[in-house]
Symmetry: C2
Subunit: 442 residues, 2 copies
Amino acid sequence: MRVIILGGGFGGMKAAMGLDNKKGFDVLLIDRFNYHQFQPLFYQVATAGLDASNISFPLRKAFHNSRNVRIRIAEVIEILPHNKTVVTSSGEYAYDLLIIAMGADTNFFGNEQIARYAWPMKSTVEALKLRHHIIQNFERALEEQDEEQLKDLLTVVIVGGGPTGVELAGAIAEMRNWVLPKDYPELDFSKMRIFLVEGLDKVLAVMSEKSSERSTRYLDELGIKVITKAMVQDYDGEVLTFKDGRKIHTSTVIWAAGIKGNIPFGIPDSSVLKGNRIIVNEFNEVKDIPGIYAIGDIAYMETREYPKGHPQVAPVALEQGKLLCRNLIRQMNNEPLKPFVYHDKGVMATVGRHRAVADLPKPPLHIGGFMAWFAWLALHLFQIVGVKNRIFVFVNWIYHYFTFDQSLRLIFREFNTPADLVRERKSAKDKKPSAGSSRDVI
Amino acid sequence: MRVIILGGGFGGMKAAMGLDNKKGFDVLLIDRFNYHQFQPLFYQVATAGLDASNISFPLRKAFHNSRNVRIRIAEVIEILPHNKTVVTSSGEYAYDLLIIAMGADTNFFGNEQIARYAWPMKSTVEALKLRHHIIQNFERALEEQDEEQLKDLLTVVIVGGGPTGVELAGAIAEMRNWVLPKDYPELDFSKMRIFLVEGLDKVLAVMSEKSSERSTRYLDELGIKVITKAMVQDYDGEVLTFKDGRKIHTSTVIWAAGIKGNIPFGIPDSSVLKGNRIIVNEFNEVKDIPGIYAIGDIAYMETREYPKGHPQVAPVALEQGKLLCRNLIRQMNNEPLKPFVYHDKGVMATVGRHRAVADLPKPPLHIGGFMAWFAWLALHLFQIVGVKNRIFVFVNWIYHYFTFDQSLRLIFREFNTPADLVRERKSAKDKKPSAGSSRDVI
């Protein structure tokens, strides 16, 4: 039985591990990167707290001892369900069973200008780029003579008040409070502004009322300006405009406001739901296409407990990957399949360097502060793939905790030196007229 | 006294530290990167043994507690000695004293084609690019149907049999022997060939006869083919040609065959020697330009002990940086200056995972094998800047030693995914006729 798994994230990796060295299965795992990414810590890579390698695990290494799992680093171009073939940038591969675990990417809701100028953070490489941009901005600020331009460079706007936005805002605020004034003694960081923008009436709306309120207080104490009930209309690289006409002048907008599934070509429209999710039954079988399964963020499964689909979080992907493999083995042995039942693990989010909020489902429990933060640390450390990664993350965290220092403020650009970028920026500036004299209302 | 230091390498960093918080000096340290690079371990970054961040130290962090040292991340465009001004990509800066510590870059000896297709390794970013290329090559090899093309992909040529070339060759051989067959079970690594090419009649010619012979034996035992007395004529991305007409077909040529000083514009020709080195007296004052000093790899100083100039190695740069600062302070206090006298620390090179060769000057001692390797480890660990870097390098080394595993085989490309590159390569291949049927003689 030839099984192809598309994507080496939480779901795909778990599925491949579930079929590892299982008789009767030949597995091909295809990903565009050669490593598994630990998404929950992207924000720490972006804020120079962790190295990209600390949260990445080489896919090939994960299957060193496998007799039946092979890896291909390639981009998926198209699925041909009638030929049971996947077309990739490194050739075509035939399958008997296909597991789509391609996850989700940033959703800019069709606004191309925002997609161009705002920073997404849905891959390790994007997190690295964001890190470089943030550091580079302060280098530029040192040369800026114009007061208004300087203000723009020292303004960071994070759009999206979910866990990602909240955690990122907290980490940037800690940088401002502890590290940046030492790195750039010439700059006045009391002028630095961090905005967290949310369309709903509160941040962390997925969590309990209590946790949402707590996190709002924590954010406030960190000096983060939370703006709720604000819909972003546009961002042109200089001015962020809200639907109600308000504006913020800023050189940094980070977009954590939505995701959409990475649907490959070849999946019929009838199998795809709004938000780019593939409709599956409780065995993760894709609607209308036999032999194809979808798991994780990209899958949309309605059950009695979750009539509006499951949350797009790592535990769902992990559990679906695990169950699917067991069902495939059951199928091969002509045993009855088991439907998916999600056991909610709860939701957590850190806010700054020693506080977090957590909602635990059974018994319903809402904890906050240092204890929640400590639980968050332990849980994430435990989940990271690879013993060495765990050690390195642990040492990094201990180090930061006692030194208040994110020490990875390094710009390793492959193709441009920082100076090239400065020069580019300058020549661009010379050509372009200023954004005008009407300043922001925020 | 306004002092500008160009370059944050061994020499420039030491000079800045020597003037740190010294009364009467205002120091501006200018570098194109925002970190100090520990050059002796570039080869371990290139072979996925260490993270780039492990051997990099943020310049700003190094001077967190400084009242008089400021940093600018910028490219030096020109020096105007008559105006006592440095023109950079981030503006112009006036100086009273200028210290040039811009080091050396790869010397392709004017061959533009080699410069285009061969991989240099004289910066952290270049080491990262080389790492990505090496890994990417094996991914490409998986798809290669053509036997000859596959052979080219599995052939690595390192040009230059100095310490850098020898250490790199050893590290690549260890990868082939221990890691790559597990990562790519589909490939036959007995077919992988590693060549080390040297123009002189032996490798490590800068070292003693005994160390050179020892290292040749170690290289041989690692399965590295050493080619001596071979001058490279050209490399077009597919075929490396020697002056005597011999050829090697290969997709990877690493160039460690020479360096040249990074002379900035504005230094008069009369002050520059062949090999792009700036002529200085024994106080590191540049010939013909008062108020300008040069230290480290870029400086050429003749003394009684070193009538042909000093070796271009880290200890010389460090000692010159240290002495220069002390002399500047003496000058300010109207005390007599001290001339530079180099205390030779000896030369070492590792060959593979547990052997090295070392020449110690006093008493003349030539050690090899495990003991030399252990000394090499301890010395380098001690020299790395930053306590955390030291811990991380140490943990990485311990880990590799016991697992035989370079675990950082991660491709973090900023602008291209691996698949983009494969696609590029493919479309390039389709357009280009094959290299012809005459195969290599080596």
